[in-house]
């Protein structure tokens, strides 16, 4: 079966500096895959390469067996890949409701319609309401996104990412900066919202990673040094030395 996401010999240089050195990675359909690694290992850059934010210098990225590297982000999104951002990236002056509705529109086939009343689209309304309830922001529906608390903004960020029902979801450090209780809620939310979908997640919190992921890849200096089940990664001597070892020490 073709993997949901596949990276084949992907490299990325900024000037003379090679940030990503020959990554080959494959994530199966329905898999929850975590990408871990020390700061500056190239995790966010890898996300940017997959989602079309930047283009690989060499190599290719495939989504459901089709090459997507080189396509603009919106084309990749339309093919069923959606991502969140490490730094909250919402529509700050618009209400929570409008944020989610904008995230739903394209997937509901509304395109650039200027002849339809937006309040007269029952499916859009229903899907938006569903996501709003899912991320538990119903009480904050009419608040401008810029005025939400940090944890609420992170929830909205995830809501916008999953709203379009993309088959493949990329989450970039969804629990960064959250308290323990907030993290637990966020993980439960992620688990629920990505049910039956493919998830690739960058995360620093090891309890989140080992609790959530089916498989883990470890990125160090722009290279994947190991890929496997949480158990395999825990016992991999290279990983212990390069990454987990630092935490143990």
């Amino acid at each position: 079966m073709t993997p949901a996401i596949e990276l084949r010999g992907v490299e990325k240089s900024f000037g003379n500096i090679k940030i990503i050195r020959n990554i080959t990675l494959s994530v199966a359909h329905g898999e929850r895959h975590a990408l871990i690694g020390p700061n500056g290992a190239g995790k966010s850059t890898t996300f940017n390469l997959i989602s079309g934010y930047t283009k690989p210098t060499t190599g290719s990225v495939l989504l459901h067996g089709e090459v997507i590297s080189g396509l603009p982000p919106y084309q990749i999104n339309r093919r069923g890949l959606s991502r969140s951002f490490q730094v909250t990236n919402v529509f700050a002056n618009m209400s929570v409701w409008e944020n989610l509705r904008c995230a739903v529109l394209w997937s509901m086939g509304q395109r650039y319609a200027f002849w339809k009343n937006i309040d007269n689209l029952p499916e859009v309304r229903e899907r938006t309401a569903e996501i709003l309830a899912d991320i538990e922001l119903t009480a904050r529906r009419d608040v401008p996104a810029g005025l939400l608390t940090y944890a609420e903004q992170r929830a909205l960020e995830i809501g916008i990412t999953v709203a379009g029902r993309a088959a493949v979801i990329l989450l970039d450090e969804p629990t960064a900066g959250m308290s323990r209780a907030e993290t637990e809620r966020a993980v439960a939310l992620i688990r629920r919202l990505t049910e039956g979908r493919t998830l690739l997640i960058v995360e620093h919190d090891m309890s989140v990673v080992f609790g959530l992921a089916d498989r883990i890849s470890v990125l160090v200096y722009g290279q994947i040094i190991a890929s496997g089940t949480p158990e395999e990664i825990r016992n991999n001597p290279k990983v212990r030395e390069a990454y987990l070892g630092e935490e143990a020490a």
Partner: protein, 433 residues
């Protein structure tokens, strides 16, 4: 409708809401019909026409700035080209006796604006921000200077004129008298305002707001921000063209001033002073700026200076514009704490007015000595005559300006304090509710 949607989605408008909404438009229409019976003089009718044209133009500009986040310095291009094409169209229709009545001629202006926006907008809408602003300025200069070079089409300095009464008559209306032009402009203003309002409530309209807020994120929900900006730009061009067409019909002439930087600047003024964050903002701004430019030019020679000062004050102290200032009071009215701030306004009024009077006295005196030093020093500004050479006037101006400012500053602080009290109270009440 599923349970989730009815439970958590914003409530759909009730029948009463809908009646109120459509009722508002009907009342507006009725007011427009009846207005000439109250203010029937030629002067007021002309003013109303200018306001209507300015409303359409300012709202079209706000599709760019307020809705989609594109700061244009060249919106008059589409206004002006619409105007020129319509003058030529009227001449051609009149000469060939084509069966096209005047009321649908503004559509020609709209389509012209749309066509040129579609041609010129593709490149400039690639980016928003500085790049877009610079390109809009470049295009505007290009078109404005070609207006003086391509004389056969633009008529050089003199412009091109036409006779609007030579067209097919409808219901016996020749559109010679100003009252008939008033109804033409009023009808088109209402149509354009309704259309532009409806546009904000479509999927495209909402994505325009999303592009304004965060063009980067828009790409990751499936939309191409360039396409959103481009379509918005085309709509803005279309409605600007209609405004230009109505102006051309009103004056029966189109000249290079229609396309110029001053025209582009005025529409930015009107939209911004009115408030770009609200749909109604540019309407308020258009009315205010039209009255101001008509009124101020009679009262003082350097009215544009005051114009600029007002603009600077709005940008610095009231970035939400007039509408933003008024809307700020809504939560206070709801919570019933408005009375807490009103006294502080009254206290501030006298010293602030004194300061402004001092400023006006200073400006007018300086203008007398720099602009017309040879003239009689007994000048008149804002209907008040005074001697610009008199040290008493200088002294009084200085005292009013400096003393007024010193006192006003304290009263402004009171306003600030009253505001924070009133908003805290309003928030507490809102939280308790």
């Amino acid at each position: 409708m599923s349970d989730t949607a009815s439970a958590v989605a914003p409530p759909l408008p009730s029948v009463a809401d809908k009646l109120k909404f459509y009722g508002l438009w009907l009342v507006t229409a009725a007011v427009l019909v009846l207005l000439p019976y109250v203010f029937g003089s030629g002067g007021s009718l002309t003013t109303f026409c200018l306001i209507g044209i300015s409303i359409i133009f300012s709202l079209s500009y706000n599709i760019l700035l307020g809705q989609t986040g594109m700061l244009s310095f060249g919106h008059a291009v589409y206004y002006g080209l619409g105007g020129f094409l319509v003058i030529h169209a009227i001449n051609i229709i009149g000469a060939n006796k084509l069966p096209i009545p005047l009321p649908i001629v503004p559509l020609i202006g709209g389509l012209t604006g749309l066509l040129f926006a579609a041609l010129l907008g593709w490149v400039s809408t690639q980016r928003s921000g500085t790049a877009f602003a610079m390109i809009s300025l470049g295009v505007a200069e290009l078109i404005a200077s070609s207006a003086l070079i391509l004389r056969t089409f633009f008529g050089g300095e003199a412009g091109v004129s036409a006779n609007r009464t030579k067209l097919l008559k409808v219901f016996g209306w020749s559109f010679g008298p100003q009252i008939q032009i008033y109804y033409l402009v009023a009808a088109w203003t209402l149509i354009a305002v309704v259309a532009m309002y409806a546009l904000t409530r479509t999927p495209l309209g909402r994505m325009c707001n999303a592009v304004r807020d965060n063009p980067e994120r828009v790409q990751f929900v499936g939309y191409n921000p360039h396409t959103v900006r481009y379509i918005a730009f085309c709509f803005a061009g279309f409605f600007a063209g209609i405004a230009g067409a109505l102006a051309a019909i009103n004056f029966e002439i189109a000249n290079s001033a229609y396309l110029g930087a001053a025209q582009s600047g005025t529409v930015l003024f009107a939209a911004y002073i009115g408030g770009i964050g609200f749909f109604i903002g540019p309407i308020v701004g258009a009315i205010f700026v039209t009255f101001l430019s008509l009124g101020l030019s009679d009262l003082t020679q350097v009215w544009q200076l005051y114009f600029g000062l007002i603009f600077m004050v709005v940008v610095l102290f009231a970035p939400g514009g007039i509408t933003g200032l008024l809307m700020m009071h809504r939560p206070l009215i709801r919570a019933g704490t408005l009375l807490k701030v009103l006294p502080s306004y009254l206290f501030a009024l006298a010293p602030t007015l004194a300061m402004i009077a001092g400023l006006v006295g200073t400006i007018e005196t300086i203008v007398h000595y720099t602009v017309n030093p040879g003239d009689d020093s007994h000048i008149k500004a804002f209907g008040v005559g005074f001697d610009a050479a008199s040290p008493l006037v200088w002294g009084l101006s200085a005292v009013l300006l400096i003393g007024g400012y010193a006192v006003a500053r304290t009263t402004w602080r009171w306003i600030g304090r009253a505001w924070s009290e009133a908003t805290t109270l309003a928030r507490d009440k809102g939280g308790a509710a």
